[in-house]
């Protein structure tokens, strides 16, 4: 932060919005051929919901993740470029990191590669977050309830979202490939430029744009590469694929994507401020961005995410074409619910209905819910304290659904067209993001120390 920026221009590529979706190999080759310093790759988010963090399961197709990681690691090693992968396995906790680590070892074995790999852990001890909570240093993200120690304890696992510091530490120790857990998307791409002396503001801003791949280009897609060249306090956004271009509008419109605020965005060490950013078309399918401000926090923060298991789900799915029943759906669902819960007499069971063709998507927000279609789809879900209980109650519900005597019926039974045998399907555990909170750190060194790094010689002869 102190020395004026005299760093050379740094060239960064992002292979796409997420590796594991299928990287465009031609675009990656073009980017590599144009000269690069580093390959960054995002591989996850909270977007797919709490199941992955809660269950420890990976989000992506393993085969495609292997193909994509193989492409970028080969390109990196062949050209002496560090490869920085963040949000391993989707949610970035230890089981996800282990899953991606296995894939990397398999790639190295099959391709005869050898390199230094850094594994950066983001899974957190509950104790640390509870200490910060007790010290009054934890605040919820907008729209999230206040945190309690009980909610922390109830989580299956908790991750912290790292900034650039652990990536820099790993590169300082000679890692050629860095596989990191939960990370700020921006940090994956900003780490190398910051290490080379670029200011945090333009480096992180550039990272925010690269993290969705070619979503910032025209035509937009998350499944293609995007490049940036950071030079001093400005950066150029470039589409390696000649079929795309990057315009001031395409960059600016995407900068507001999936965020609450269009021009103030929090990072571990400060707030990015885009209010005075200027965009300039270069005439060469690319756009220059300058004017990013970065307001440094007095004390750094880390965002924590934790998933709590709320129960197990069983579902019954069916269709209704009977117009007399469609007219009496609320009576029918209330009756089925009441009879089922009375018969089941199980504590801790919840029942939920989704009616597609009426208000399935929007629920009570639906302005057209009084005008259902000529046919509706019904998804009935039971949440229970165990899969066995959920299944048992769902079986009772199915038996009510087929024969419940709603008023004005022109039939006596067979009210629902069920597409599946089995009629009840068990879908496993259901989770909730009970932790989505920002903690002020006790000391700045925790930006690194909360994220322990392991080093491996991958593919080396024993």
């Amino acid at each position: 932060m102190t020395a004026p920026s005299r760093a050379r221009a740094i060239r960064v590529v992002s292979p796409g919005g997420s590796i594991g979706y299928g990287v465009n190999a031609d675009s990656l080759q073009r980017a590599v051929a144009s000269g690069l310093d580093v390959i960054g790759a995002d591989s996850g988010s909270t977007d797919m919901g709490p199941y992955y963090l809660g269950s420890g399961r990976p989000y992506h197709s393993r085969a495609t993740m292997k193909r994509d990681m193989s492409l970028i690691i080969e390109a990196g090693l062949a050209n002496g470029l560090p490869v920085l992968i963040g949000n391993a396995g989707g949610a970035g906790a230890d089981p996800h990191l282990a899953w991606a680590h296995e894939i990397i070892k398999e790639i190295a074995r099959e391709k005869g590669m050898s390199f230094t790999l850094a594994l950066v852990h983001s899974q957190q001890e509950k104790r640390y977050l509870k200490e910060r909570l007790a010290a009054g240093k934890v605040r919820p993200m907008p729209g999230v309830p206040e945190l309690t120690a009980e909610r922390v304890d109830a989580c299956e696992r908790i991750v912290g979202q790292m900034g650039v510091e652990p990536f820099i530490e790993a590169m300082d120790h000679g890692a050629q490939v860095v596989l990191a857990g939960r990370a700020c998307d921006s940090a994956i791409f900003a780490a190398y430029p910051v290490r080379a002396g670029i200011e945090a503001g333009p480096a992180l801003h550039m990272g925010k744009i690269l993290e969705c791949g070619a979503m910032s280009a025209v035509p937009p897609t998350g499944r293609d590469c995007l490049m940036a060249i950071v030079d001093g306090d400005q950066f150029e956004v470039v589409a390696p694929n000649p079929a795309r271009k990057v315009t001031p509008f395409s960059v600016a419109a995407h900068m507001v994507y999936e965020v609450e605020h269009p021009y103030l965005q929090g990072e571990p060490t400060g707030v990015l401020d885009f209010s005075d950013v200027v965009f300039e078309e270069t005439g060469n399918r690319s756009t220059l961005v300058r004017g990013t401000q970065f307001h440094v926090h007095q004390r750094p923060t880390i965002r924590f995410e934790g998933a709590e298991r709320v129960g197990f789900r069983s579902i019954v799915l069916g269709g209704i074409r009977d117009p007399f029943l469609i007219a009496k759906l609320d009576e029918y669902m209330a009756g089925c619910t009441e009879q089922t819960l009375a018969l089941a007499d199980q504590p801790g069971v919840s029942l939920n209905w989704i009616v597609y063709g009426r208000d399935g998507v929007m629920g009570e927000m639906e302005p057209e819910r009084d005008h259902p279609g000529h046919e509706v789809g019904i998804l009935a879900q039971i949440l229970g304290p165990s899969q066995e209980v959920a299944h048992d109650v769902a079986a009772l519900l199915e038996a009510r659904m087929i024969g419940f005597p709603y008023s004005g019926a022109k039939t006596r039974t067979a009210h629902v067209a069920f597409p599946f045998s089995p009629l009840v399907n068990d879908t496993g555990a259901v989770y909730r993001f009970s932790v989505l909170h920002v903690a002020e750190l006790a000391k700045p060194s925790e930006l690194t120390s909360l994220f322990p790094i392991e080093y491996f010689k991958v593919g080396a002869e024993p």
């Binding site: 907008p142 729209g143 999230v144 709320v310 998507v361 302005p367």
Partner: protein, 108 residues
């Protein structure tokens, strides 16, 4: 003559801004249209709350960003993404009520 919002936009969508918020991006065809809608103060908490049948307290914020020709607002979910009873893990497909939102004509 009043105009319908859908005829003024380049694109619009809803999407998660984290698991507890759904953010709506309304991107206009050109700068003049963006400025016109902004001046007309079409997006207010009261109006959005009424359109989506939610209390005003669930409309967290409304922002605009001229470089992106975008007006966006944020709805606090009643059920967080992927929790039991959620209807849209990605927060997608919630924007349809905006189609018929009327934008008053400017007096010349």
């Amino acid at each position: 003559m009043n105009r319908k919002l859908i005829d003024l936009v380049e694109f619009l969508f809803s999407k998660n801004a984290g698991p507890y918020l759904i953010t709506f991006d309304v991107v206009f065809k050109d700068e003049a249209t963006f400025e016109m809608v902004r001046r007309a103060k079409v997006f207010t908490k009261a109006r959005i709350a009424k359109l989506f049948h939610v209390p005003e307290s669930r409309i967290l914020s409304i922002h605009d960003y001229p470089a992106g020709r975008v007006i966006k607002f944020n709805l606090v979910r009643d059920i967080s993404s992927g929790d039991f009873g959620d209807r849209s893990v990605f927060g997608s497909q919630m924007w349809a009520p905006l189609i018929s939102l009327e934008v008053p004509a400017e007096r010349s």
